[in-house]
Amino acid sequence: MSAISRRQVLQRGSSASLAGLAMLLPPELLRRPGERAPAAARRRVAGEEHWLVFTRHEAAVVREATARLIPGPYDDPAERGHPGAREADVVRFIDTMLGCLDHSPQKVFAGGPFSNRAGWPVDDMAQFIGLTSSQAYGWRIRLAAWRQAYRAGVVALDDLTGGDFTRATDTERDRALAENPNGFTTLLFGHAVDGMYSVPEYGGNRGLVGWKDISFPGDVQPRGYTASEVSRSDGPDPYDPEGPGKALVDLIRLSNER
């Protein structure tokens, strides 16, 4: 990410949405990059220890596992300055999702038309929209399967790490996740992504850290974009493909040759 695009994101936010970002950020993120957060702070990032669906241990395993899948500054030194699933409170998002039918209205579809992040005085998105009978039927089945997968998935991750995933080393955690027991890592990663980059009303993307890390402004109604923002270049932002990006480019080139 270049300084240019980051600056533009912050400028755009200055009218309403992202100006207060620094204040919204968990204090841990303002620490020096790479510095290990104290245990109490790491818990606080994940919110209160009250869960709709998870047991305390399940929540801890899901928090630590998603932090391996989408690591932040305390999970991988390479992610200095780049918040991850822990900072975005992805575990809260997942618990909210698994318990979404226990709310009234159910927490499946956030409201609209606007949040209060782009110049609208109230957060309409915080008022969820109740399900139709058909949707409620589908979600009951979907959630029953997911809840069971989480129960079993946490047990499997514990088993693969000598009994307690949360006490395992990073290497052991990664090895367990790479095993993808009964497809649990795939399911968890998908949900972690949803919690990382969705509107924060669903419980994740706390402080908009997910969007900030990828220079995405998120929802912009009712302000929208100006004609100039739509039609003109933001300026050079060179990227030299390396690592997985280079692998992707190579794969495309190889595929074109075939």
């Binding site: 989408i70 058909s134 992504v193 220079s215 974009y225 923002e229 932002d237």
Partner: protein, 565 residues
């Protein structure tokens, strides 16, 4: 007593028919299976709960739930592994398919309406002329464009487009701001001799009919418009309501009653459970090509030649992507894309006739290309999840994932092209009722049997390299065109079903009851008071977005129904 008409479906076709019939003085009830996500539908600018929320869209907020209301897809009757789930899901909500669209509204061409007589037959396909010509439908196009508010610029349209779809005047509104990504694509298109132009779209570029100009929030294709700068089917629906029509949301028509050559009413399931019968003097099916065919089959409407549900067509979409290493293209701002080319819809495109002959075809066409779109963060992230085991086999998560998200090759640095290929009517491509899968209400679901023919595949193969050439000309550092093919040639983006939401055919218009279901006005051949007002009446698919033509056809046909009812 006024004549009572039931219209099944509140999307573009149903709403247009409702407007015409209600304004003709008929007593119209519009049944909508889904919920209503708008406030007062009689106001110029209703409020809504649609929003810039990608997860809401991923969770099928306004579309059928894939568990509660699945469909079945198979490539042939001998397909041993049919897919059950979301198949070509269009919105199921008041406003229908015109709720989720980015409202591109090109006209079909003269050669679409007279494909058989102007271009000739094709082996294995039931190519027909439409019951009307371009000249006859043109005034209805004008009327619909004014009704829903279309932006565009006649002076920028290529000669090819104007030759095949001439216009009596300019568009109701000028084009809005061009997207940077689309401008790059337009440059690329020109560099290889193609003819880009600002796309026609039913989105306000200036305040129009009491609604605001679009502010380019970027959540366009796939999303309900939060500010109603895109009104779609709600414009005719409003006029229907003002003329006395009623809209009943969350009301599922599960059977159409009939006796002899007449339908006599509908059986409706309420949201809370329980059914009721209601008498109507006429019924209009407008649930979309798949659901109207399904309802006809569920109702066991007379079908002496087994034509109901046949000749179903989906545009054969081919995606291409150019990746840019020098800058970000921010295609997440805007109206999905703002520029098109029509060159590939021309059967006489240089080299196309020769390539067709080589494939054993007298000719082929693909269709228009939409230029400049991209994905959003959740869509991008889920693509990386799919491909990370290939890119980073030792650690398919963690830092490699986050690096991909920040580099954003598949979103912020991506320029997307979508080619919508014409899809021929084949008797073997059809909708019927699945013998075992039922929806949550206990009714058999639609089963789609579909495979492309030689025509679609040959046209795709011919135009694929052109998409790459165009992207190279636009300045992409690396480009890829991904054929739509269940054989999965590239490890991402592969879908078990044909990836399209353009659904047509199934109850097509025609003069011969052996090869069509409805007559030259969309009236059922076997039932004098049953009409069809959605894309299922299309005899051929064209190579352009179908909704404007669905509305213009519904307008033309329902004006004739109004005279007979």
């Amino acid at each position: 007593m006024r004549t009572r008409v039931a219209i099944v479906g509140s999307g573009p076709g149903g709403a247009t028919a409702a407007m015409v019939l209600a304004e003709a003085g008929l007593d119209v009830v519009v049944f909508e299976k889904g919920a209503n996500f708008f406030t007062d539908l009689t106001s110029e600018r209703p409020g809504t709960v649609f929003s810039n929320d990608e997860l809401k869209d991923d969770r099928s907020f306004a579309e059928p739930d894939s568990i509660a209301e699945p469909r079945v897809f198979r490539t042939s009757p001998s397909d041993s592994n049919p897919f059950v789930g979301a198949v070509q899901s269009l919105p199921q909500t008041v406003g229908g398919g015109a709720v989720h669209w980015d409202a591109k509204t090109p006209r079909y061409w003269d050669i679409d309406f007279q494909k058989l007589s102007l271009l000739g037959p094709l082996p294995g396909a039931a190519v027909e002329d439409w019951p009307f010509t371009y000249d006859e439908i043109a005034p209805h196009y004008d009327a619909v464009e004014a009704l829903i508010g279309v932006q565009g610029d006649v002076a920028s349209l290529p000669e090819l487009t104007l030759r095949h779809a001439p216009r009596s005047g300019n568009f109701p509104m000028p084009p809005g701001p061009p997207q940077y990504s689309s401008l790059l694509a337009a440059k690329g298109a020109r560099s290889v001799g193609l003819h880009p132009f600002p796309a026609a779209m039913a989105i306000n570029s200036v305040p129009y009919a009491g609604r605001p100009a679009c502010n380019d929030c970027g959540f366009c294709s796939g999303y309900g418009c939060p500010i109603l700068a895109r009104i779609g089917a709600l414009a005719p629906l409003r006029r229907a309501l003002l003329a006395g029509a009623e809209v009943r949301e969350r009301s599922v028509v599960v059977r159409v009653g009939h006796q002899g050559r007449k339908v006599d009413g509908v059986l409706v399931m309420r949201e809370g459970g329980g059914y009721y019968r209601e008498h109507f003097d006429a019924v209009v099916l407008a649930g979309n090509a798949i659901e109207s065919s399904r309802l006809a089959l569920l109702s066991e409407l007379p079908d002496p030649y087994g034509t109901t549900g046949r000749y179903v067509m989906f545009h054969w979409f081919t995606d291409a992507s150019g990746l840019f290493f020098s800058e970000r293209l921010h295609a997440y701002r805007g109206r999905d894309h703002t520029h098109d080319i029509d060159d590939f819809a021309d059967p006489d495109f240089p080299g196309a006739r020769a390539a067709a002959r080589e494939a054993g075809l007298p000719y082929f066409r693909a269709g228009k290309v939409e230029m400049g779109g991209t994905d959003r963060p959740l869509g991008e992230a889920h693509q990386y999840l799919e491909i990370l085991p290939v890119l980073s086999p030792r650690k398919p998560f963690g830092v490699p994932f986050k690096k991909l998200m920040r580099a954003s090759l598949l979103r912020d640095r991506l320029l997307g092209l979508t080619l919508m290929g014409e899809d021929l009517p084949y008797a073997t491509n059809r909708v019927d009722l699945d013998p075992s899968v039922r929806d949550w209400r206990g009714h058999p679901v639609a089963r789609i049997t579909y495979s492309p023919g030689r025509y679609e595949l040959a046209a795709q193969a011919f135009y694929l390299p052109w998409l790459v050439k165009l992207l190279d000309g636009a300045g992409a550092d690396v480009s890829i065109a991904i054929p739509q093919d269940p054989s999965k040639t590239f490890p991402i983006g592969a879908s078990p079903v044909i990836d399209t939401e353009h659904v047509m055919g199934g109850m097509r218009m025609g003069t011969n009851p052996r090869t069509s279901v409805t007559d030259g006005t969309g009236r059922h051949h076997q039932l004098d008071n049953l009409f069809v007002a959605d894309g299922s009446v299309f005899p051929t698919s064209g190579g352009h977005n179908p909704t404007l033509t669905i509305m213009a056809t519904a307008l033309r046909n329902s004006r004739q129904w109004a005279r007979s009812l």
